[in-house]
Amino acid sequence: MNERRERPGLTVTGLTKVFPGQRRHPDVMALDGIDMHVDPGEMVSIVGASGCGKSTLLRIVGGLEQATTGAVRIDGDLVVGPGPDRGMVFQAYSLFPWRTVAENVAFGLEVAGQPRAARRERVAELLGIMGLTDFAHVRPGQLSGGMRQRVAIARALAPEPDVLLLDEPFGALDAQTKLSMHEFLHQVRQRTGCTVMMVTHDVAEAVYLSQRVYVLSARPGRVAEEVTVPFGVARGPAVKRDIRFLDLQDEIEDRLHTAPAA
């Protein structure tokens, strides 16, 4: 990976996670020998049934949990803990309710010790991209679910992370909002070119948004399949009616349901 210094990529090698058993319960192997990579500028999704350890995998990449064995590297650097180079977006409840939208987005910049003027400029830029300029001084409690997730994405992008990690970011949204967030994420990716690793259980969402999809089997989580999506980055909702799109979606869903359970 060292040859790509300017736009770092992410690699996961031989990653295993075992949760030690509590009294009389055996150890639980959540992830078993995961190998995957995300190239710079690429968006990759991980799909799997609930309990397949996909969120654990993302949390390990984010540095919030430790792998039992194996390694996560970014541009060759070993990940040992959380950091602003891996911005993370959670399903819900991650915004600071006492801070306004602008103050939430500025959090990572404050941590980085950026001067006030630079912070204000960067926050204004991001709020512009996210269509949140009019809500800069509103607190999260007054926003809809979709807007909150846009704030969370803006906040994670503010310190210019190498990778954006999305943990079922649209899972708590209603169907309509979810669709508009998909278009929104497309736009953000086209404007910022950010590298994204997303975890979801929504196969259509994964196929629509990603260049590649990893299918995880359940208990223990193993990479059951790696699928390349045959559409360019600039794709619109019409793609969802493309026969290749539907075939791919069916194939992945079949794979999910037949994935061997341990």
Partner: protein, 293 residues
């Protein structure tokens, strides 16, 4: 609620239902509820204010009736209590007593709240601190603090320090455990988000756990303040030269029951004022948390 009730009525009175020949009341489904006693439902704002005033009037009325029914010497009327209070104030003793008691509470209870926040947040944030502190706290908090009064008098003498110590000891365990509960309620996602934005542990504690817990901490302080006054009274009853509870004992010795009543009223008013101030403090400093209650 109302919409559902209306819908039921509409169905019941529809022509299809009212087709019968006899004039029996149309069948209804469900049970109507009076506007006054709908569980958790809002009542008209004027009614709420009226009920509040009515409650206080009923209290004073009950008091007057009680003193009329009993001997007014043993159970002074509100008016006699007022006069005794004015006399207490004219002599200058009310100011002295009030200052002494409030000062003890202010010092002792502030220390207790600060300790509560420090240890409560530590317990909630670090499993190691929890393992170390929880059993000791659980053990110590079952020792009635009032039982320690003679001990503190022996150790610390009869000046201010045993009184302040008693207020601290009598409230600190409640504060620690309740603040810990508040701090545990900080969503893990907020903590994780702060970490992934580059924050270290100290910053997470200062800029995530504390601000999120702040309104809850103010509530805990407000609720446990009553226990602080309880401990103050215990301390002053045993040994004091001034203070509200001291005045109570002294008035009792001189059979000035009207003064004793005046002291009780002052206690109630202080409680009311501090409660309302802390509610205001929460409202002003954490407006974001008001809607979620």
């Amino acid at each position: 609620m109302t919409a559902v009730a209306d819908a039921v009525v509409a169905t019941a009175e529809s022509p299809a239902r009212a087709r019968g020949t006899r004039r029996t009341p149309p069948p209804t489904r469900g049970q109507r509820q009076s506007a006054l006693f709908r569980m958790r439902a809002d009542i008209p704002p004027g009614l709420g204010a009226g009920l509040a005033v009515g409650g206080v009037v009923a209290l004073l009325g009950g008091w007057t009736l009680a003193s009329a029914a009993m001997d007014t010497f043993l159970f002074p009327t509100p008016a006699a209590t007022w006069d005794a209070g004015v006399e207490w104030w004219r002599k200058g003793d009310l100011t002295v007593d009030l200052t002494a008691s409030v000062r003890r509470i202010a010092i002792g209870y502030s220390i207790s709240v600060v300790l509560g926040v420090v240890f409560g947040v530590l317990m909630a944030s670090f499993r190691s601190a929890e393992s170390f502190l929880e059993p000791q706290t659980a053990l110590l908090r079952y020792i009635p603090a009032s039982a320690l009064t003679p001990l503190f008098l022996v150790w610390l003498g009869i000046d201010e320090s045993p009184k302040i110590t008693l207020i601290i000891v009598g409230t600190v365990f409640f504060n620690v455990l309740m603040v810990a509960d508040v701090a545990r309620a900080v969503p893990q996602e907020e903590v994780d988000a702060a970490y992934t934005l580059g924050a270290g542990r100290l910053r997470v504690l200062r800029q995530v756990v504390l601000p999120h817990s702040w309104p809850g901490i103010v509530d805990v302080a407000r609720i446990n303040l009553a226990a602080g006054w309880l401990m103050l009274v215990v301390a002053e009853l045993l040994a004091a030269d001034e203070g509200l509870a001291f005045r109570m004992v002294r008035a009792g010795r001189f059979r000035r029951i009207d003064t004793m009543f005046a002291v009780l009223v002052v206690f109630a008013l202080i409680g009311l004022i501090s409660d309302m101030s802390l509610r205001q403090l929460r409202k002003r400093t954490a407006p974001w948390s008001e809607g979620s209650r």
